[in-house]
């Protein structure tokens, strides 16, 4: 029964002192602590992905089927029938390059919203920075994104499109997509922990938001004068950024992306603050 001896504790070194106090008025930044818990973050992502694919019949294929079918429908109705302008791109490329970040955003929101409630048993039994949960949801959705990206590569090869130098800016837009998903996801998961109604609002919100974003149409439909204002919807900047950097046609969406980036930073900062405030009471409420 006796297993290997436990290492003795060195009582002279006491580098780590933890002070437990009532929550102060404003929040403490979670970054340092999150770093200490990075392995747990990795395990949560790993668990979520594993479970998602264990319970579905065709697993990862969903990540391709969904955007692909949507792309077909958009190509047929918005493209071939309604003749929506496509900046000189083939319709499948035009739509799929927008659906890539859009599907990522939508999946992230759905996963992040429910994550606090789904993990309530763990939350009430053990401590870890709660922000790891929505963070894991947003990172975990990157796997689906990666899989659907393979389809995009196939499309690009099929249409013989050669990436322009704008491709080097793609990581920036990917980061922007991640920031947008995380920022909105933090708000929704914190709100859903307090008000369960939020979960029912999210599908509607996602649908509504999609029509307000240049997924089915180009942002060039918005008059030049007002286009920067369109960037207030951060997904507008993300989607146009994706299209431009991946396909390399049309003008760089400079000012719009800048406005989007500013908005994302604001949403993200607000989301972190709001989430941290909620965190101090979440174990009592969920």
């Amino acid at each position: 029964m006796s297993t290997g001896a436990l290492p003795e504790i060195n009582s002279t070194s006491k580098p780590f002192v933890l002070r437990i106090t009532p929550p102060s008025g404003w929040c403490e930044a979670p970054f340092k602590e999150l770093w200490a818990y990075r392995e747990l973050l990795y395990f949560i992502v790993w668990r979520d992905i594993k479970i998602r694919y264990k319970q579905t019949a065709i697993g990862a294929a969903w990540a391709i089927i969904q955007p692909f079918l949507t792309m077909l429908v958009f190509t047929l109705f918005f493209g071939k029938l309604a003749h929506v302008p496509s900046e000189g791109m083939p319709y499948p490329i035009f739509y799929y390059s927008a659906l890539l970040p859009w599907m990522y955003f939508a999946t992230s929101l759905q996963n992040a919203t429910n994550t606090i409630v789904e993990n309530q048993r763990v939350i009430t039994k053990v401590y870890f920075p709660r922000i790891a949960l929505p963070l894991a949801a947003v990172f975990g959705s990157l796997v689906d994104f990666g899989i659907s990206f393979l389809m995009f590569i196939a499309l690009v090869l099929y249409y013989g499109i050669r990436p322009a130098s704008s491709i080097f800016l793609f990581p920036v837009f990917l980061l922007l997509a991640l920031g947008t998903s995380l920022g909105v996801g933090l708000w929704l998961s914190a709100l859903n922990a307090i008000y369960r109604d939020v979960r029912y609002v999210v599908p509607f919100l996602v649908q509504f938001w999609m029509f307000a974003s240049p997924v089915a149409y180009p942002s060039s439909l918005v008059p030049e004068k007002w286009r920067w204002l369109y960037g207030i919807n951060p997904m507008a900047g993300v989607i146009e950024g994706f299209r431009w950097s991946l396909v390399g046609r049309g003008d760089p969406p400079g000012r719009m992306v800048f406005v989007s980036a500013v908005v994302v930073v604001l949403i993200l900062a607000g989301g972190i603050a709001f989430f941290q405030r909620m965190e101090t009471t979440v174990a009592d409420v969920v």
């Binding site: 001896a5 392995e39 174990a283």
Partner: protein, 405 residues
């Protein structure tokens, strides 16, 4: 006396009554906004813990005792940072591991192997630590053969074993444990207690909640008694546990009257020793078990069933007593046993009363603990519950043949 690793100063936690473990629907908030002006602003608060202060020095094992709702778990939740205090503060020097439940972080769809990693990570282990101790964990859990089976196909007992195996291999400097040893069979409990002793002897500090006073006696040098959210007593485990048990024996009459039902049961004790434990060395032979009750109504034809269960909930004995005439007021029921031939272990009494309309069930607390100094540590599940006096003879062939004739 070494330096304190846990310092708790005037710690308090307040809940709004009815808010605990409740979330809101937006509708509630909206309706509250509209009705608020018409309602008196009256908020009921409940201090689940108030003004608790103590120090724990390194390497000590401290037992936390008290009735349900006395704030033991709240205290552990505050110290493990699951929830934040409302008042006061605590200082902790070192890495904290908390074990408020067995199987925290387990997921039924994942395999045993995957769950070891997941639960380990959730409980605060590093991946390298889990890798290093993986074989030990598996050996401790005794479920090697099912490592690659999904957890949902495990029996409850196997899940518990696996869960505790992970938990037992945590290496925090301070371990907070809540009543998790109450699960599993006695043999496995023994193994876990042994593990905890091992942990404490390596200089780690343990704060330990239990309802089983024997465990507190065996494991802890010091105990803290919480009552109604505040400190009742703090001192040597033996004294505190004795004081606690003595108080538990006295039935609180007002409480009995407040409880629902036509008849309510208070406490029970062994009359000869005035306690809930039976020491096999000092006590043998005839003994009387007394149950205290309070009747609120006239009961014409009552029926009482008393059940004795083992720690695995197996019914060992039951007695049924019918046609009881009971008038309102306090009552005592005495059961005189010629002997109680039980092996050391934890047993429980359950009473069921039929008052002519409904059955009132009551699980008596605390448990009946049978102790013996001589073989406190060696009994295993093979020993069973019954302690029967048996004469054994070894006969050779010739003896048998004589008998056959």
């Amino acid at each position: 006396m070494s330096t304190p690793v846990i310092r708790v100063e005037n710690l308090g936690k307040r809940y709004r009554v009815g808010q605990r473990e409740r979330y809101f629907a937006l509708r509630d908030v909206i309706s509250r906004v509209f009705t608020a002006p018409f309602r008196r602003q009256k908020r009921d608060y409940l201090w689940a813990l108030s003004d608790v202060s103590f120090d724990v020095s390194q390497g000590s094992v401290v037992g936390l005792i008290g009735r349900n709702g006395s704030g033991k778990t709240t205290l552990l939740k505050l110290l493990s940072r699951i929830t934040r205090p409302t008042a006061g503060f605590a200082e902790i020097h070192g890495r904290v591991g908390s074990l408020l439940e067995v199987g925290t972080g387990f997921h039924p769809e994942l395999t045993g192997r995957e769950n070891i990693y997941l639960s380990g990570a959730v409980l605060g282990m590093k991946k390298s630590e889990i890798n290093r101790r993986f074989d030990e964990i598996v050996a401790f859990s005794e479920v090697e053969r099912f490592l690659d089976t999904a957890l949902k196909h495990f029996s409850t007992g196997m899940q518990m074993r696996l869960a505790f195996a992970v938990a037992a291999h945590l290496e925090p400097e301070i371990l907070l444990v809540d009543e998790v040893l109450a699960v599993g069979d006695l043999d496995f409990q023994k193994k876990c207690l042994g593990k905890m002793k091992e942990v404490s002897s390596s200089g780690r500090t343990i704060l330990f909640v239990s309802h089983q006073m024997n465990q507190i006696r065996r494991l802890c040098k010091r105990a803290i008694w919480l009552d109604g959210g505040s400190m009742q007593q703090d001192g040597s485990a033996k004294e505190i546990v004795n004081a606690y048990e003595a108080k538990a024996l006295k039935t609180n009459r007002e409480e009995l009257e407040r409880m629902p039902g036509s008849i309510t049961f208070g406490s029970w004790y062994i009359r000869e020793s005035r306690s809930n434990r039976l020491d096999l060395e000092t006590q043998s032979g005839r003994l009387t078990v007394r149950f205290e009750a309070f009747a609120k109504q006239d009961i014409r034809k009552g029926m009482l069933v008393i059940i004795l269960r083992s720690s695995e909930n197996v019914v060992l004995w039951s007695g049924m007593y019918a046609d009881l005439q009971i008038r309102p007021g306090p009552w005592k029921f005495d059961l005189a046993f010629e002997s109680l031939p039980l092996n050391p272990g934890i047993y429980s009494w359950e009473t069921r009363f039929y008052d002519g309309h409904a059955w009132l069930e009551h699980l008596q607390s605390p448990e009946l603990s049978i102790v013996s100094e001589t073989d406190a540590d060696i009994f295993s599940y093979l020993k069973g519950s019954l302690n029967l006096a048996v004469d054994f003879d070894l006969l050779d062939q010739t003896d048998c043949e004589v008998e056959r004739l």
